[in-house]
């Protein structure tokens, strides 16, 4: 539904988006991650028809964003990062206005407003002037506006900023529901959120996409061994010696705690299983056996550092294996 090919954007001589390509398929949620100033908002603004690209093409629902800008704007539901609203208008007045702009007649508007009011929990705030609302409510009004015309594609720039934890959770649930019918592209700083709801992730840094893939794919690419933590009941020295011999075990740390022995070691993929089998064969009770899994944050930080390192080594920095 969203197709971006070799998209670039220069502001004067400054390159904000450097030759990126990606696509968003129907019924998927794609998360757009990146440090501040990476080019997320610029890319989003190009996709929503606000600014034109310097080079490359972008198509939303088959319409080119430059040549068929009005068609693109008609099918996109957009929530900008700053959630701009008119403070002097009441919520229902604002939604009514936006409905008119979308070409909806009165009955359509009324039905749509009822629908988004329920979905975005705005029932209490409908009659209040927007200027009096809290940030959370304003965010919901912005989201309601984006959903009003049942858009084919949703593009959200940091949709859960400023919401309280229950609202964040509910918004995520809402996004998951919506993704069944509409592809969603949203940008975020919150890695845990992206991990929780996105099927695919794009990581952008200094205008380039440095990684793309599903959450699991990206986590699997985190280098380094994963540490294993275990607690076994038995003589420390014997346990320590046996564990050292396990395949893949390195940097074994053994601490004694009464009857129990705490183990911490760097391990390969087979080590955990081997440790469990060892404990069973020697009759050592196991209280805890846990292998750390890499988090998305690990991948993100590693990807950014690698990108900066290769940028620092002069010449055109190579994108991370993608």
């Amino acid at each position: 539904m969203i197709e971006v090919r070799n998209l670039s954007k220069y502001f004067g001589s400054r390159c904000a988006v450097d030759n990126i390509s990606f696509s968003v398929e129907p019924s998927t949620i794609v998360g757009f991650l990146g440090p501040n100033g990476a080019g997320k908002t610029t890319t989003i603004r190009i996709l929503t028809g606000y600014i034109p690209p310097t080079a490359g093409t972008a198509k939303v629902a088959g319409h080119d964003v430059v040549k068929e800008s009005l068609a693109v704007r008609a099918v996109v539901g957009y929530l900008p990062e700053s959630v701009p609203l008119y403070p002097e208008m009441r919520v229902y007045e604002y939604l009514n206005f936006r409905g008119k702009l979308r070409g909806m007649d009165r009955s359509q508007r009324e039905a749509a407003i009822a629908r988004v009011t329920e979905r975005c929990w705005l029932a209490d705030a409908l009659r209040r002037p927007i200027g009096q609302l809290s940030k959370g409510y304003r965010q919901r009004v912005g989201l309601a506006d984006a959903l009003l015309h049942n858009p084919q594609v949703l593009i959200l720039d940091e949709p859960t900023v400023g919401l309280d934890p229950t609202q964040v959770r509910e918004t995520r649930g809402l996004l998951r529901e919506l993704a069944a019918d509409h592809p969603i592209l949203f940008s975020s700083h919150t890695l845990s959120e992206v991990e929780a709801i996105c099927q695919r992730i794009l990581i952008i840094h200094e205008g380039r996409i440095i990684a793309a893939g599903t959450v699991d794919e990206l986590k699997a690419r985190v280098d380094g061994q994963r540490r294993v933590h275990a607690e076994l009941k038995g003589p420390s020295r014997e346990i320590g010696a046996a564990v050292q011999k396990l395949p893949g075990a390195e940097q074994v740390k053994v601490t004694s705690d009464g009857d129990w022995t705490h183990l911490e070691l760097a391990a390969g993929s087979q080590t955990c299983q081997a440790l469990a089998e060892l404990a069973a064969s020697r009759g050592w009770a196991v209280r805890r056996l846990h292998q750390e899994t890499p988090s998305l944050e690990d991948f993100f930080v590693q990807a950014i550092i690698d990108a900066r390192v290769s940028a620092g080594s002069g010449g055109r920095p190579a994108p991370l294996r993608s």
Binding site: R45, T48, G49, Y50, I51, P52, L70, A71, R73, A74, V76, Y78, P80, S82, P84, L85, Y86, P87, E88, M89, E93, F97, R98, K100, L101, R102, G103, D145
Partner: protein, 240 residues
Amino acid sequence: MRNVSAIMQRELLSLFCSPIAYIVMAGFWLVTGAIAVWNADAFGPGKPATLRDIFMWTPFILTIVIPAMSMRSISEEYRSGTFETLMTAPVSDTQVVLGKYLASLVFYGIMIAGTLIYPLLMEAFGNPDWGEVLAVYLGLLLLGVCFTAFGLFASSLTRDQAVAWILGAVPLMLLVLSVYSLVRRFEGWQRELVQQINIMGRFGQFARGQVGIDAVIFFLASAGLFLFLTVKVVESRRWR
């Protein structure tokens, strides 16, 4: 067309929610009223029942008042970021500008309608020439059509309302005053040329009851020019 109407309605709502609207209107009525009082001896018995004295300085007053009315129009959208939501909605830049322009015109019309009390008072105590009254109000409307377009143009140039007001008021003031005072220094074809942009002079014609088609075209064409320029400025904002 519905888009233009939707934008116009929203703009009117916004105008009337802001204290500036009421202050501007009240200010205009107050100043016009003061001028009427100062010129009270022009309305003695036996003297012609005319609005000329009341509205003589109105073009100059409007160069200050109209930009104050329209200063918020586009600059506030830039400042609050709602410009982005407007530009990503399926409406064209022209529709946006037209909607805002019409809203300002409606506001101006209401403001001018408040001065209808003067011809009504004249009718109560005298025998005014309604043809002349009609001509005066046509002149006022055309002045508004022209100045409002310029005020909107000034508003599109900056994020800052105060700057928008200055950018609108100062050129208009300079034009109206300087041409009016300098026109006598020219002779022949040069004077002809300067008379084309002599706004006080053109309005003076309307005040005397003369509806010149050249004046009508002048005001409408200049409005058209500034509206066109406004659309271009708004379009250009996307490229920056």
